[in-house]
């Protein structure tokens, strides 16, 4: 039996995870950081219940390279599966160890003990605590191995703690974000960047920059130019002027076209990523060519569009190193990359996680941390760097566009017999630490020998561009062909659910097209191809919730659409039904979702993630598309990059299955793909015409209606 979490291998001792404070508190350490997803509450709850302590007895310490276990990135819906499993095991081992010592001290059996608020109570009425046992009885626990495969675990009755987030009050009313930290003798800095991440200037107008009101220093190294001042408000205005004063050189970009036109025109590296031949198919008769469909679906480039621009602080340390405060999703990788860029040892660089505005993958957080670190190290300043709104929407990494073409055929019984999917897309991960070089925007301009490393996509089975490209359904012969596009018109990297948004949209659209072509009900057609009882259950449940069978005819202007996926084909299950009204544009009226995430650790936190995933996916799928022209990225503000408004928020009805006998499954990203699929299918049901290219904007709907009169090559 293997250990329950890979984090236990990198942090194998109890003291890597827990410290008993002199004040009688429990300092919990984690490598998984609070990004607004509520993970601090969920992990605290796991630890409290494993140790038998109250949330009020907890000090939470996460994402500090000096103290925390290195658990990699807080990403990929892994924080409960990996970070939560780790803490469950640590808590179980530590509790069991202390229980033996407590029973001895209290002269009773372990089975007689009860745990309350960190105190072990014996039937005699005597009690002792973790802290007493550690200090008075000298119980050696700190070097306990937590990575053993079959530890003896002792269960003791305890009150179950239900934890709510404790970070909200400060974030609502005070200095709850990295943006709000202040250092002694602190300077503000703004980096001078053009309208494209790889734009530069043949000549920097230094004399003019120095005269700008609010600019007290202009710091230049190679193509890294920082404006520095004490008055942040004045500096922001100067930064806007400085951008206008600079004559920018923009790399040659491909002309903006729809993703399904642009992506196949790019240079590609193609390979067959997966080929599975079904035994049954070979025995069957040739497929029914009347029911062979070949369809293309796409999504454009999508921005993280965090509400608060990325921010970081840094200061030099006495040993010649630096301290950095950052909202990075991976402080250890960031530390390693900064150390490498600045020729420092890892111990000379300390990165401390502090909350930022929501990010949904790799946004500007790491880049701005390097900006601050570089200034602090090179010019010896205590500095706070915050990006502009424009920086956030132009030079930070975007989610990659994808084109998905699927050819599928049915046999005479109306069952899918062959499925051949091709995906044209870029690398969906270019995070610091991924690939061979430095993945830090500022390093490429400051350091003459650094340039963006060769892009690599995440391979299957998790996949980047191919994430969820393999359908969850039994489809007979399955082939996945990957057309990997190395160059892109902008920076691309991880955005929530990676390729799953486009792939599930494509698969679920085609499932409806196939069921429609063969006269089958979309729900029955899906169930016919799904053996997994948990998959079948979420689909059947959501159908009941939405009263699926009374959805009415197509083409009335009101439509219902269904979709299903299991995230990464191994994490949480999600089935979803959307109800839309289509007139000049698509308005989503209601969304029903059923999610099976195994054992639910923190119900409200999971609800919040599902609600957020649905609403964000509605925004992406109906509204969003990064725009560019020969002057760079042109969707540089909220007018040019609109996102979901409160006026367009539908009713939500979410059901969580919650089976405590099954392991918890990552589910922060489960909803994005199914939501896109359900919206596409609902629009097709409302209009009687299918739009296959995201976003489902008025322009794309008109295009789909125009093209619906033309024959589709099949």
């Amino acid at each position: 039996m293997s250990i329950p979490s890979p984090s236990l291998s990198t942090a194998p001792l109890a003291k890597d995870w827990l410290r008993l404070s002199p004040e009688g508190l429990f300092e919990l350490r984690s490598g998984k950081v609070e990004l607004g997803q509520g993970i601090s509450a969920a992990l605290t709850q796991i630890a409290c219940n494993a140790l038998g302590v109250k949330a009020t007895q907890i000090i939470w310490l996460a994402g500090d390279t000096r103290y925390s276990p290195d658990e990699g990135f807080t990403a990929g819906s892994q924080s409960i599966e990996v970070g939560g499993q780790a803490w469950q095991r640590v808590g179980d081992i530590v509790r069991s160890h202390f229980a033996l010592a407590a029973a001895e001290r209290l002269c009773c059996e372990v089975s007689d003990l009860v745990l309350r608020s960190g105190a072990f109570l014996a039937p005699s009425g005597l009690q002792t605590t973790y802290h007493q046992l550690a200090h008075e009885d000298k119980v050696a626990w700190e070097d306990l191995r937590v990575d053993t495969e079959n530890p003896v675990l002792l269960t003791i009755p305890t009150e179950q703690e239900s934890v709510t987030r404790t970070d909200l009050w400060l974030k609502f009313t005070g200095d709850g974000f990295v943006h709000d930290l202040r250092l002694p003798d602190m300077w503000h800095a703004r980096i001078l960047r053009g309208p494209h991440p790889h734009s530069t200037a043949a000549e920097w107008p230094v004399a003019q920059l120095e005269k700008l009101k609010g600019v007290e220093q202009v710091l230049i190294q190679n193509n890294f130019v920082a404006l520095v001042g004490r008055d942040e408000g004045a500096l922001i205005k100067a930064h806007v002027q400085a951008r206008q004063l600079t004559s920018w050189t923009i790399p040659k970009l491909p002309v903006q076209q729809a993703a399904h036109v642009l992506l196949p025109s790019m240079e590609k590296k193609s390979n067959i990523a997966l080929h599975q031949v079904s035994q049954e198919t070979q025995a069957n008769a040739p497929c029914n060519d009347a029911h062979r469909l070949r369809r293309q679906y796409s999504r454009p480039y999508i921005a993280h569009a965090s509400i608060g621009p990325s921010c970081a602080l840094a200061c030099p340390t006495q040993d010649g190193g630096i301290q950095v405060w950052s909202h990075s999703q991976g402080v250890f990788n960031l530390r390693d990359q900064i150390a490498r860029a600045l020729n420092l040892s890892k111990t000379q660089v300390q990165v401390m996680h502090e909350p930022g505005a929501g990010c949904y993958g790799h946004n500007g957080a790491d880049d701005v941390a390097f900006d601050a670190a570089f200034i602090a190290h090179t010019w010896g300043l205590n500095v706070r760097v915050q990006w502009s709104r424009e920086d956030e929407l132009t030079v930070s990494p975007m989610g990659a566009a994808s084109l998905v073409e699927i050819e599928a055929s049915l046999n005479a019984e109306g069952c899918i017999q062959q499925w051949h999917a091709q995906v044209w897309s870029h690398a969906h991960v270019n995070r610091p630490g991924w690939g061979k070089g430095l993945q830090l925007l500022g390093a490429w301009s400051a350091l003459p020998h650094e340039k963006p490393p060769e892009p690599l996509d995440m391979p299957l089975p998790t996949g980047g561009g191919l994430r969820n490209a393999a359908p969850a359904y039994d489809v007979g012969d399955l082939t996945l062909e990957h057309h990997f596009l190395e160059s892109s018109p902008m920076r691309v990297s991880a955005l929530r659910s990676l390729g799953a948004h486009a792939n599930v949209f494509a698969i679920e659209s085609l499932m409806d097209e196939l069921s429609d072509a063969s006269g089958q009900d979309p729900l029955a057609f899906r169930l016919k191809h799904l053996a997994d009882p948990r998959a079948r259950h979420v689909l059947q449940k959501v159908s009941e919730m939405s009263n699926w069978h009374s959805r009415g005819d197509a083409g009335t202007g009101i439509g219902y659409g269904m979709a299903y996926a299991r995230y990464k084909n191994k994490a949480g299950y999600c089935a979803l039904v959307a109800q839309v009204e289509v007139s000049e544009r698509v308005k989503v009226l209601k969304v029903w979702a059923c999610v099976d995430a195994g054992k639910v650790v923190h119900s409200d936190g999971l609800h919040n993630q599902i609600e957020g995933g649905i609403l964000q996916a509605i925004s992406w799928s109906l509204l969003e598309s990064v725009q560019w022209n020969e002057q760079g990225i042109s969707s540089h503000d909220w007018e040019n990059y609109p996102i979901l408004s409160f006026l367009d928020v539908p009713q939500l009805d979410i059901h969580l299955v919650d089976d405590p006998s099954t392991p918890s499954l990552g589910s922060g990203e489960v909803a994005t793909g199914p939501c896109a699929g359900a919206l596409g299918n609902a629009v097709a049901h409302a209009l009687g015409v299918r739009a296959r290219h995201l976003p489902l904007s008025p322009e794309n709907l008109i295009l789909a209606m125009d093209q619906s009169h033309e024959p589709i090559p099949s």
Partner: protein, 158 residues
Amino acid sequence: MIKLQHNRDQVSSTQDPQGDLLHFLREQCSDASVRFGCGSGHCGACTVLIDGQAQNACTTPVWSGEGKHIQTAKGLPQDEVGRLVLAAFVEEQAAQCAYCISGILVRITGLLKSQPAATEAQIKDSLSRHLCRCGAHARILRAVLLAQKNIQHVNTLP
């Protein structure tokens, strides 16, 4: 010199009166609850009440606050309506990253003071001046409706 009231404090600015209220509040008044989001009045993260009216602090010059009462999220715990709005947002856990929330709390406090019986459509319209990227919209709306109910309840107490 510009003089104004910041929550319960009388403050004055000797800095450039053309400077924006956002940075005056954040830097000179040490009020981090006024958040920078876009600097162009599009996202609502920096919303404050100026004599009860919701405004974007990022596009408001300091001079226009002369003699006025500026309320921010930092001051809501001391405000009888603001306190109930805050409590409802905590109860509903109405946030994810929470970067957008301070501005929303301020606007909703202003709205429920001037229109305690605002309809759901009016509430949504008011919220539409704010952007939320995490998708916390549904629970934000629930929190506002809860706050409204609680405020109405308090108002009916003898």
